[in-house]
Symmetry: C2
Subunit: 352 residues, 2 copies
């Protein structure tokens, strides 16, 4: 029946026989105005009772909670690494990320359809007075109109992997053009001339897919004898193997395929196996993202490794700089992180 509570400053002050305000000042480090003996008594009492400052109170007093809201869908290892980078950098600056892991693993949240739900989720964070938000592209698009007003409330926003025409915050993305050019060059150097690209659903929230495909098409087109053709998945993005089969049996007869993510590359593998095509003998495949399974596919998939942890760290850094640092009051910034082509065993010379 006992209720042993968390000790309050008042308890410490009583134990040390001083006023609450004296205890507060001493424990904040403002000791110059107090006697040495008094300070000792207060510090000793606070330690004995295990007192800890209540950060909720600091939050309402200063208007700063040192927390950052992070809105993400449950997703593959790439995003887990981004998150890890966010946590690392924010942790160093003594910020605490509060992550809203929305939707379940099977279906991404479809908030376009449910306006109210979106607002509710943002408010779960804002009601706790997070100092800033980090957003995945899905949410950046779905919640656009609700987020645009945050700047006026002094809640900075950083968007990852989505560059908008009318930004309402800073953004971080992978600099893909360079890595994509490296992929194109690699395939052309191997003698491939009929090259396919398999893209994902290219929805509004996946502008990266569109851009990645365009970058690749452009890079291949520079070589006059080479030709690219592109295919893409349906709206739900669940017909990957079907599209891959289509693409491989098309009149075009590509000798190499570039997939905008490793997921699609995996679909190409499956289709190739069923069709009896060997990789890389009959068909070269290149993925993108270097997800968990890329290195253990058979054969190991050549792909483009982004630097997810670095992306996360950069996003966190941008927020920190905007809250207290050099970015305060400055125009929005778009930051790009390099990516590296990883050569493994899924590419070979074009068949004669």
């Amino acid at each position: 029946m006992s209720q042993p509570r968390v000790p309050r400053l008042k308890d410490v002050a009583e134990a040390a026989n001083v006023s609450v305000s004296a205890a507060s000042k001493i424990l904040r480090g403002d000791r110059s105005r107090f006697g040495e003996e008094t300070c000792r008594r207060v510090v000793e009492a606070s330690e004995r009772l295990g007192w800890r400052r209540n950060l909720l109170v600091s939050g309402i007093q200063t208007g700063r909670t040192n927390t950052v809201g992070v809105m993400i869908p449950p997703y593959d290892s790439f995003w887990v690494k981004v998150l890890s980078g966010i946590h690392k950098r924010l942790g160093e600056a003594d910020f605490l990320p509060i992550t809203l892991w929305l939707g379940d693993l099977d279906h991404l949240p479809h908030f376009e359809a449910n306006e109210q739900e979106g607002v509710r989720q943002i408010n779960r964070l804002l009601d706790r007075r997070v100092d800033a938000l980090i957003l995945w592209p899905t949410f950046a698009v779905a919640y656009q109109e609700h987020l645009a007003g945050l700047a006026e409330k002094n809640v900075p926003v950083v968007v990852i992997d989505h560059r908008s025409d009318e930004p309402y915050g800073d953004s971080v993305a992978t600099n893909e053009s360079q890595a994509t050019r490296a992929v194109a060059k690699h395939l052309l150097d191997l003698g491939h001339r009929r090259i396919a690209c398999i893209s994902s659903r290219e929805s509004k929230s996946q502008t990266w897919a569109l851009e990645r495909r365009r970058n690749f098409e452009r890079a291949i087109s520079l070589k006059s004898e080479a030709e690219v053709r592109s295919w893409r998945l349906n709206r739900t993005g669940d017909n990957g193997v079907e599209v891959a089969t289509h693409l491989l049996t098309d009149d075009f007869r590509p000798t190499a395929v570039f997939a905008v993510t490793d997921h699609e590359a995996h679909c190409v593998y499956e289709a190739a196996i069923t069709l009896g095509l060997s990789i890389p003998g009959d068909l070269s495949v290149v993925g993108f993202a270097d997800l968990d399974f890329a290195a253990t596919m058979m054969p190991p998939l050549s792909t483009v490794r982004q630097r997810p942890q670095e992306i996360g760290e950069r996003a966190a850094s941008l927020l920190i700089d905007r809250l207290d640092g050099p970015l305060a009051g400055e125009p929005f910034v778009h930051s790009e992180i390099e990516a590296d082509f990883v050569l493994r065993e899924s590419t070979g010379p074009a068949p004669a």
Copy 2:
């Protein structure tokens, strides 16, 4: 230079021309004592200004923040799914998980060595007055002594996948014995008689590995003609392929291997390929956990699928029940979730 702040209740009250306390009561739903017209004015004003209750204040007033601290290492897809379950269930009950994603992806945190760091991390959550904690086994062990005192502070704890002799909270784990018996039966039915088990590091924080191995050994031993031998990884857990090679070239010459996680199973695959052994022709392999890559390994790995999302949901449910519900004041509970044997293509009849 303008500072357009988040609206306060005071602003709403002034706009509606009532006292702050009237506004507070009306907006909390206690309208019986106020005129219809007044209520309308207050509600309208609050909506127009976009007022939202500051949950930090509610937190200091009620002693409840409706937040739960979650301490996890960055880890494989299994844990991501557990997290997803936690978020789902807590979200339904309007709790907000605050996840501390400790350590980086390459090395798990080694807090045994750095006592102070551990305390610091727990305090990051407690200082924000989380109502409860959910812990991964790593932390449950490393921070044991600091966590034991939380019960006295009325901060319930749920530990996942780790059963202690002196529990200081509720716990959830997979009920492995049944699934492990199914694996054993499957291998014995296929005619295997010399069966190896490859375990991971079996440290204090990985008691599940020990238990899983023991369960398996016991299940095999029931068949008198069959024999099990076990190997395990070193302290750092990075010599998997080496141990697998050892095990496969040992005089024992096992025809089947049970790996305590899919990670070790993957090491067995690698060793088998190097040694020229075909799976499942020369060697049957069974894993545990059904991680992301298990289904896409070549051949697809037979394994035991735990129900991580269900584990997460159960952990969250236990907390909710203990905070406000039927579990308040009751003795600690240990809850078990079933697991299912998933038959894929990595097992076959024992070679003659």
